[in-house]
Amino acid sequence: MNKLLQFLSKSKTISSCGDYKTPSLVIEVKDYLEILSKIKKSDIKLRYIVDITKDNVNYCKELIKFADEVRHLDGIKTNFSVSESEYIASSTLSQELYSPEPFQQIIYSNVPDIVEQQKYVFESFWNKAILAEHRVREIEEGVALGMTEVIQIPSKTVEMFVSLIKSAKEEVLLLLPTTNAFFREEKLGIIRYLRDAAVLQGVNVRILTPTNDVITKIIQNMENDKLINFVIQVFEPASDIKVHTVTILVIDKKESLVVEKKDDYKENMVDAIGLATYSTSKPTVISYVTIFESLYNHAKLYEQLKIHGKMQDEFINIASHELRTPTQAVLAYSDLLQNHPEQRDAMIDAIKRNAMRLQRLTEDILDVTKIESKTLKLYKEDLDLSILLSTIVNDYKNNAEGREISDIILLDNEANGKHYIINADTQRITQVVTNLLNNAVKFTEENKECGSISIRLEEVKNADCQEVIINVKDAGTGIDKEILPRLFTKFATKSTKGTGLGLFICKSMVEAHNGKIWAENNKDGKGATFSFSLPFSKYRD
C-alpha cells in the first residue's frame, strides 16, 4: 500500500489496467477509495482500462466518477499502472470477487526500459478499448452497441475483407461500385468463394454490381440460375444507381466494412483502395443493409421495368401487325370493288372475313385490357355443362366458314351421362372452348393425316370441392417444346399469324371461374390435350 502511495505521489499521469475484479476492489477497499479521491482532487490525470461486465457494472460507474477517462476491453486479465517513470503491477487472479482485501502481490519497477515497454502495452490496449459509458449503456439497455473503427492500412483492410467473408454464416451483402471493382474481387477469388459458400454452407449471398459484356459472360458461366441463395444483381449506368465511391460489405447483418475507392484503374485491391470503416455498431450496420436493400430493389425494379417495356413494345408491334393486315384487305377490296363488278361476291366475302378478323382481334385486345386492369366482369348463372358443350360444338361446326373441320366428338362415356351444373358465364366458357377448338383445328390442319378432335369430361372429387375437367384432345402437331413453359402467357406463339393472346385470355377466364387450365403433349406422341377444370355445384336432377 505504501509503495502504491509513493508511486502516486510522484506521478502526473497514471495509466491503469484492471481485470473484471478491479472495479469492486478499488471501490470497496477503503484505502484505495481514498487514493482515488485524492487523485480526483489533484492534477493527476488518471486513465483506466477495465473489463466491464454485468456483475461489476455498478462499481464501474463509480470508478468512472474518479477517473478522467475509463475504457472497456473485453476479458482483459492484467493489473498494472504506469506513470512517466514508474511501473507497478499487482495480482487479483487468486482473489475472491468483491473481497475487500488489498492486493497481495506487487511488482514494481522504475527501470526506464521496463516503464517504456509497459507504457507501450497500455497504449495498445487503450487504442483497442471502447468508451466505458458506451459499454455501460450496452449492458444496461441490453443492446450490443458495437463499435466503429477506421482502418488506414489497405493491406489490413484486404485481410479483414477476406476474413469477414470467410466468417459469414448466414448472409453476405456485397455492393461493388465499378466494373473494375468486380474484376478485382474476381481476381481475389472472392466471387467464386462466395458462390461456394452459398452452395456448400447455405450462406445467402447477394452481390450488386455494374456490368459490362465480360461480367455478363462471367455471371452466365457461373450458372447462377440454378441457385436461389446466390444472386448477382446487375445495375446499369442508365438505371440512376450511382455508387461510384465505396464498396459495401455486410456480414450476417452484424458487421460492415465500407471501403473507399482511391484509384479504380489499379488491378489489385490493395492498390485501389483508401480508407475503410469497419463497424459492429447496430445502427451503422443496419444503415448499410438498408442502403444495399434499396439499391438492390431499385436495380431489380429497373430490370423488370425494362422487360415490361420490351413486352409492351412487342405487344404494340404484334397488335399493330394484326390490326393492319385485315385493315389492308378491307381497304384494298373496297377500292377494287367498283372496277370489278364481276368479282363482287368474292370481294364482299373477303371484306366480311377480314372485318370479322378485325372484330375478333379488337375483342381480344379489349379482354386483355380488362384482365390487366382487373376490370373483367362475369355474368354467372347456373348452366348445364353438357348442354353448353354440345351447343358450342354444333355452333362451331356450323360456323366453319368453309374450312375443313376435322371431326369433333363429344365424349360422354366417362361422365356416364351425368349433367354437371356449373355456375359460370356462358359467353366466357364458350370463348374458352372455342379457342381451344380453334387451336386444335389449326394444328390438326398442319398435320393432315391425323384424325379427330375429342372433348371428354372427367370428374374429380376431393375433400374441399368437386370439379369437372374438360379435356380437348387433338392428334395434330403437338405443342412446340420452346413454347410449352410459357404457353399461357401473352404473345406465346411461333405462328406469324395471331397475337398469341388466346391462351392467355383462356387462362384468365378459367381462373376467374376458380378453375385451372393446363396442357400437355399426348403420350402416344400425336397431338396435345388441353384441359381445364371448373367447380360444379350439383348434378342435374
Partner: protein, 153 residues
C-alpha cells in the same frame, strides 16, 4: 380512266412477283397491279415461291417481311444469288421502328431502297412500283411519302 389506259401501255409485260402469306392481301394487290397493266404472280408460301422462282423473269419482287419459315428479307437474299438484276419493294404491317436497323444496315447491302407500310392504297402501291422501275417521273411523286419509309427519311 384515260390515265389508267396510259399506264397500261407503259407497264405492259412488266412482270411482278408478290409473296405475302395473307392470301386476301396478295390477291387484292395482284388485281390492283393487273389493273395497271402489270403481269403478276402471287405466292402465299415463301418456300414454294422460292422453288418456283425463275431467273430473269420478274422485273420486281413485292415482298411481305413477316412470313412463316422464310421471311421476306431472307427470301430476297436468296433470290439475289439467282437473279442479280431483280428489283425489290418490301412491305410490312409491323411497326416501322421494328425494322429500322434492317432498313439502315441490310437494305443498302441488298440494293433495297424502300419499305412500304400496310395499309397502303392501291394507287400508292402502283406509283411506288413504277418509281422503283423507273417508269414514273420522280417529280410528280413527292406527295405520297406518308405511306412509305425510305432511306432518306
Amino acid at each position: 380512266m384515260s390515265k389508267t389506259v396510259k399506264m397500261i401501255t407503259n407497264n405492259k409485260n412488266k412482270r411482278i412477283l408478290i409473296v405475302d402469306d395473307e392470301p386476301d392481301i396478295a390477291l387484292a394487290f395482284k388485281i390492283g397491279l393487273e389493273d395497271s397493266g402489270f403481269v403478276v404472280d402471287t405466292f402465299n408460301e415463301p418456300k414454294i415461291a422460292f422453288s418456283n422462282f425463275k431467273s430473269d423473269f420478274y422485273e420486281l419482287l413485292l415482298l411481305d417481311i413477316k412470313m412463316p419459315k422464310l421471311n421476306g428479307i431472307e427470301f430476297y437474299q436468296r433470290m439475289k444469288e439467282i437473279d442479280k438484276k431483280v428489283k425489290v419493294l418490301f412491305i410490312t404491317a409491323s411497326e416501322i421502328y421494328y425494322y429500322e436497323k434492317i432498313v439502315k444496315e441490310v437494305f443498302p447491302l441488298l440494293g433495297a431502297k424502300r419499305l412500304l407500310r400496310k395499309p397502303i392504297k392501291i394507287e400508292v402501291l402502283v406509283r411506288s412500283i413504277k418509281q422503283e422501275l423507273g417508269l414514273f417521273n420522280n417529280n410528280n411523286n413527292n406527295n405520297e411519302s406518308h405511306s412509305e419509309y425510305s432511306l432518306s427519311s
